[in-house]
């Protein structure tokens, strides 16, 4: 039996009187790829924000890699081995690929505090390795991010997460802003994560993509987890029925 990497129990978030997330029970095991689907405002992003510590939860408990955690910010989550690819990418447009990949965790040659000397060659080498491992193709590493296509940028963002995520990657709509061809590129990159055994939580609106990429689909509706479906046991119509509320599962939990 694979080890549980992330588990939540009764995870709840209220914004004033609005219950954005209610009693979410969720679990993901090593090597698993899970999709979170649901309508706008269903609580998908709220769920991710509570786990990664971008926001502080109202209630509930979270375990990550065997320990109970309460991350105070995304940095803490990152240090623990959980990487998040945000919708807005968080890349520095004027820096090149290695600089972006290692932003905030640069390799150093000589440690002199803020004036530490960068190990540029080492970072470039590691970037080449990281991109190759993730299957991201970038024509020139020394080009500024500004000059890359949307797919290449997303590739860099994902490669950054994949290079450093030791335990879990969370992606929030990684292809929402991309064209057909670029979406295909990014999906290939996500498949390569699967073959490397890196667990993934994928938030997506694109059901075709979800069925292509993941093992399990968790449906959020009005702040509740309303379905936890194995891919083989469901289909698009079924998932849509849960998303729109036509159908409901008895167990409002995403435990395995």
């Amino acid at each position: 039996m694979a080890k549980t990497i992330l588990k939540t129990e009764g995870l709840t978030k209220h914004y004033g009187g609005i219950q954005a997330l209610v009693d979410a029970d969720f679990e993901i095991k090593e090597g698993e790829h899970i999709a979170i689907v649901g309508d706008n405002g269903a609580g998908k992003s709220t769920f991710v924000r509570q786990i990664t510590g971008v926001e502080q939860r109202t209630g509930g408990r979270v375990w990550f890699d065997g320990n109970e955690v309460h991350f105070q910010g995304p940095l803490e989550a990152r240090h623990a081995g959980m990487e998040c690819v945000f919708q807005n990418l968080a890349l520095a447009d004027d820096l090149d690929v290695p600089a972006n990949l290692f932003l905030g965790r640069e390799k150093l040659l000589v440690n002199l505090g803020p004036f530490s000397i960068l190990d540029r060659r080492g970072m470039r080498k590691a970037t080449e390795d990281g991109l190759r491992a993730t299957g991201v193709r970038i024509p020139r590493l020394d080009y500024a991010i500004r000059r890359m296509s949307g797919g290449q940028r997303q590739g860099v963002a994902i490669a950054r997460s994949a290079t450093f995520a030791s335990k879990l990657i969370i992606m929030d709509e990684p292809t929402a802003a991309l064209g057909v061809q670029e979406t295909a590129q990014v999906e290939n990159i996500i498949r390569s994560l699967k073959s490397r055994g890196i667990p993934l939580v994928l938030i997506s609106h694109n059901l075709r993509q979800v069925f292509d990429l993941v093992d399990r689909i968790v449906v959020f509706r009005r702040g509740h987890i309303v379905a936890n479906l194995r891919k083989e046991e469901t289909d698009g119509n079924d998932v849509v029925a849960y998303i729109t509320g036509v159908k409901t599962q008895n167990t409002a939990s995403a435990m395995i």
Partner: protein, 349 residues
Amino acid sequence: MAEVAINPGRAPAPTKSSRNWPMELNALAGLVAIALIFEIAGWMIRGDSFLFNAQRLQIMILQVSVIGIIAVGVTQVIITGGIDLSSGSIVGATSIIAMSFAQMGVRNGQDFTDAVFWSQGWVDLPIFMPIIVGLALGLLAGLINGALIAYTKIPPFIATLGMMVTARGIAKWWTEGQAVSNPTDSFVAIGAGMMPVIIFAVIAILFQLILTYTLYGRRTYAIGSNPAGARMAGINVERHLVLVYTIAGMLSAVAGLVAASRALTAQAGMGVMYELDAIAMAVIGGVSLIGGRGSIIGTFLGMLIFGVIISGFTFLRVDAYYQEMIKGAIIVAAVVADIYRQKRRGIVD
């Protein structure tokens, strides 16, 4: 499910116009072109060479070196996406206050009782005194600028405008408007001969290397490029901004020391408008006011362009009034060119 190929907002497909063309090359081409224009105009109007005159070139580079020292700091501030309007006033305050710690006790064989600290007996002090006082002042002013901008979120324009007025006020208050003169020989040596150029060169090379090869540089560009992204990557944006503005303040103080030493006297009005010249040098050299782009090499080229224009007009005996007007037009043109470049890259609408 129908999918529509949409062009992601801020990521235009790479085009020919966005090829790897360093901004510094534009500045270099501009420098060569302007120098050639003056050379040709020189022969036509005055029948003399503009460029092939060692003395003229020497004066030219001396004239711009003091402001060039400021521009090295201002460049870094602009790369973070900020601006520093206080540089000229910091020059005024540091020059007059540092000079008062650098006065001789005896002039022409008589006690110099007009020395600011005569009654305290603080005359003929060792050279490190005025230097430390000056640098500490610059450090303090820069620290206040940086802390205001980073922690209270006041726009850099406003925060440094406040420091511009305050530091000028301090410069006037210090001696109630009186000039301070009669510096010690060792203080005079700071700005003697080609020293300002040497000091500028050391500082410029040092910071070009720092911006390229250290964590400091990486963070400076990252913050100017995407402050939210830099924060998410774990960079302490506030602390870094304080450091950048502090360095800019200290470099203004260095310029103040050099200017005072060179002039042999310090007045409260020293350094007026230096901040604008420094900003202009940076922008002409390709440092983008939007942040994230530029280099000290670019600013150095911008400084040379500035110097060539000033000494070129003087050589052609163009009236000083016209010089100011043309200088203003060039600054505006450089900013317009910057905006145009960004537009073409799809950064601003």
